[in-house]
Amino acid sequence: MPEPLLTSRELSRRFGDNTAVNNVSFSIQKGEVLGFLGPNGAGKSTTMKMLSGNLAPSQGEIFINGYDLLSQPKQAKAHIGYLPEQPPLYKELTVKEFLSFCAQINQIPSSKAKLAVDTVIERCGLDNVTKRLIANLSKGFQQRVGIAQAIIHAPAVVILDEPTSGLDPIQIREIRQLIRDVANEHSVILSTHILPEVQMLCDRVQIINQGQLILSDTITGLSQHMQSSSLLIELTSPPTIDILNDINGVIKVEALRENKFRLHYQPDTDPTDILVSSAVQNQWQLKLLTPEQHSLEDVFMKIIQTEQVT
């Protein structure tokens, strides 16, 4: 297994008596998109601030590309790009001026700075606004400038803290597209409380609640969590419920309106194949067959609630 790009070990952060982040350990591999999911106040932003060096952890260590963020901050910070919740912009500058400044403070040699600025302007779709003042741009474009400053020095890891908050639906789609493009070249750590965003963008997801990591899984693993054990079917000429109930694996049949049924089955015996073939044999005229999924919301709530009960 290759050396992970970013490793955090037993990271904790206390504000007085209040523990915001408690013993969080994880790592991110090259090319991975890691989603940090959690309700508001769960400690997402605090973790992001620690990873970007804006806040020192009370305990634990962070390694970025082999450099210890605490003892070699300069080298480590050269490999991260950070976009806080509120994009850090000098609003009195034009987009191009601002990005040139970012290129310089990120130690890009002046011979390459112009190229870096032009590349990032193109990648973030800022071509038409290079000469406008950042203060006059829409929130969506300001967010793009924020992403542009985070990736201008081609960092190994890009940390984005709630990048789509406060945007309208069209801007959200555009920003997500942009994040997907960014993910092609960088590892990305993304914090959000919007679940579909994680499903759309991330390879791996970590759920954090009350400062603790309570789940760390791949998106496929998470989908398995989400797989429930029920089928929704519609038959034009349905048999009696008893016949459906006798299909191998089916535990319970619920009759819904208009010839629709919900079949609950044991997770390891999926009755779909048998159902389809008997529907053909007996001419039940199958019109609809949908495996039902729990939404990510359900899983999220379930995990957080079981965590709170125990």
Binding site: A56, Q86, P88, F101, Q104
Partner: protein, 246 residues
Amino acid sequence: MLTLAKNELYRLFLSPLAWIILALTQLILAYLFLTHIDYFVQIQAKIATIPGAPGLTELVAIPLLNNAATILLLITPLITMRLIAEERRNESLPLLLSAPLSMSQIVLGKFIGTFCFLLLLVILVSLMPLSLTVGSNLDFGLLLSGMLGLTLLLSSFTAIGLFLSSLTKQPAIASMTTFASLFLLWIIDWAGNSESSGLFSWLSLLRHYQPLLQGEVNSSDISYYLIVTTLFLIVTIHHLDSERLK
């Protein structure tokens, strides 16, 4: 570091504040300059006969530099207040903190940028007495020592302002506290003339400026300003660093 300084200076000039400050300071000092000239012309005939009498530099240039120091005492807080407090309010500080820069580079960059702006003011002020060389002879040694004094004074003003700006999120509070501290340090030697005032008069920013205005360049006065500047820069760096641990 120099990039930061350049950026600071550039952004300063993008705001109307810098231009207004430059224009108004120049206006007020020009008026004072004219009154000093006027006074000199009135008494010129009387003192011309006295040997060793004060000349043009003593009667015009030095009072002007003295007035400039008082006016800059009022103005510096307005410039330094935004340095860190405003970045904090606009939440743009993470940009610098997550860039591969050390805290001392950030603080020094901001200090140098602001100091360059104030240096420009000193140069503009000195242009007035220098214009007198057209029709008269100036004591350049005295003038230079006065300018050196003003420059050193401003560097300590800037460092103190930068520190107080790093303590708060509100530029207005930074401005008020800076003004109050500078003024206190200015008048601290008024604390009476008993023996105990030795320390107070040593602390006074004004006490160390006066000898330079009289052409006395003492290493103790110069080191006083350098110590004040360095001290406040170090405290600022330390404070911002410890804020991450808070």
